[in-house]
């Protein structure tokens, strides 16, 4: 019972964490243009599974925020919408990456300190 609760809670928290990092993950992969499905596969290959229902609306929102640009292109079989970082998006991603490194460093420090304290108490 307790295990179930811990698992469920862990899952919820991990989901929230993923939701938080998904934007930066998506932006990081769009230096080169990608269509939705290829982007999803690319993220998946690198270990980040993103639900289609989340990814496509997110791409639209990022485009509305002018972080991305997109255009329809007819390729071999069907038209596809290609997304890529806009100039503005490139600049924002650069700033966000710096901030991400800071956050990661801080959280790593916090977690290692917590671990040290716990070991001392034991």
């Amino acid at each position: 019972m307790i295990v179930d609760t811990v698992q469920e809670q862990t899952q919820n928290l991990v989901q929230e964490l993923r939701r938080g990092v998904i934007v930066i993950a998506v932006l990081s992969q769009l230096h080169e243009e990608q269509y939705g499905y290829s982007l999803m596969k690319k993220l998946e290959e690198q270990g980040l599974q993103v639900d289609q229902g989340t990814l496509y609306p997110l791409l639209r929102r990022l485009e509305e925020q002018t972080l991305l640009k997109s255009d329809w292109r007819v390729e071999t079989t069907r038209p596809r919408r290609y997304y890529a970082l806009s100039d503005f998006g490139e600049k924002v991603l650069k700033e966000v990456t710096v901030e991400w490194s800071r956050i990661k460093q801080t959280v790593d420090q916090l977690l290692s300190k917590t671990k040290e304290n716990k070991n001392e108490m034991d």
């Binding site: 499905y37 596969k41 229902g53 496509y56 639209r60 329809w72 079989t77």
Partner: protein
């Protein structure tokens, strides 16, 4: 690809109108990519099962549409708490009025063929009808407010907030939005009643042929309609301002004092002026009452009652005015202290 077409039609149905076709086009392209990717026999048409599996994996049309922002609220999160409170107040008022009507009928039963039981049952049925009607009107009003609210309302609700938005002092009196919403609604009803249904203001009595009404306000009263309407309009204006500000600031307090004085002036004129209630002989006959006194005596009694009622209202207004004037000076000092601290 029948299943994909059916799926997309369903998604289209739930999508917001903006960019609908473009979104559908993109989803189609993605679904075809997914089907192609999962097809174990590339180059061959995919099986129906495979297409269905892909669609199932993609998610329900409603869920997908929701992700694209098709949150079509009837009453959104900003208005919902106020809506619930106003609904409670209105339903309690409707319930109280119906119970009162029921009590009057039980105490003074009409001489109907079906007897008191049938009448009471009819009134109970009427209670449910009026409760549902009230529920419908309140819901519809809030849905209209939700639809007509400027985009900035929602934006403000979702993001921008600054500590600067906080009241400048803890001494300020916060407004009670549900109460103000009810006041605004009642003011609109009052304006409509005076200006469009003047003849319907009267005595209602359950006679042998059903409900009978007789107008009681005479032409003397018509003189006051523009003034009473103006008072109600300024009341609405002040209440809207209060909802927007969230607190009783000095401007609102000064406005309330002026409106109260204006109302006191109108009420004084009605009380001191000629009688405004007249029961005409025709109305008296229509009412078909078996009473010991005539229409003139009833008119006099009703005028006296009205004057007492207006006098009490005036007293309430005077008290409120004094309270408001006092609050300007009292709160003014406290406010200074709080800011300095």
């Amino acid at each position: 690809m029948k299943w994909i077409d059916l799926y997309l039609e369903e998604v289209r149905h739930h999508l917001p109108s903006q960019n609908r076709e473009d979104i559908v086009r993109e989803i189609r392209s993605t679904l075809l990519d997914m089907v192609e990717d999962h097809n174990p026999n590339p180059g061959q048409p995919p099986s129906e099962e495979l297409v269905k599996d892909v669609l199932k994996d993609f998610g329900s049309p409603r869920k997908i549409a929701r992700e694209y922002g098709s949150h079509q609220y009837l009453i959104g999160p900003r208005m919902y708490p106020v809506y619930i409170q106003v609904l409670k107040i209105v339903l309690i008022i409707v319930l109280a009025m119906n119970v009162l009507g029921l009590l009057i009928t039980v105490v003074n039963p009409p001489n109907l063929a079906g007897g008191i039981l049938i009448t009471v049952l009819e009134l109970v049925g009427g209670l449910f009808t009026s409760m549902f009607t009230a529920f419908g009107i309140v819901t519809l009003s809030f849905a209209l407010i939700e639809k007509s609210a400027p985009e900035s309302w929602h934006a403000e609700f979702q993001q921008s907030w600054s500590p600067e938005d906080l009241p400048k002092t803890t001494q300020q009196e916060h407004v009670k939005v549900p109460g103000l919403a009810v006041e605004i609604t009642l003011a609109f009803v009052f304006i409509a009643l005076l200006n469009f249904f003047f003849d319907r203001i009267g005595i209602y009595y359950l006679g042998e042929t059903g409900w009978v009404s007789a107008p009681i306000l005479n032409d003397q009263f018509r003189r006051y309609i523009p003034w009473l309407t103006a008072a109600a309009v300024t009341d609405i204006g002040l209440n809207l301002y209060l909802i927007r500000q969230g607190i009783w600031d000095r401007l609102a307090t000064a406005g309330r004092v002026l409106i109260n004085l204006f109302k006191i002036g109108i009420l004084s004129a009605i009380i001191l002026g000629p009688a405004v209630i007249t029961i005409s002989p025709v109305a008296w006959q229509a009412l078909d009452l078996t009473l010991d006194f005539g229409p003139d005596e009833l008119s006099r009694t009703l005028n006296t009652l009205l004057n007492v009622l207006l006098g009490l209202t005036m007293f309430g207004l005077v008290v409120d005015t004094i309270k408001r004037i006092a609050s300007i000076f009292f709160r003014g000092d406290k406010a200074q202290t709080t800011i300095i601290n």
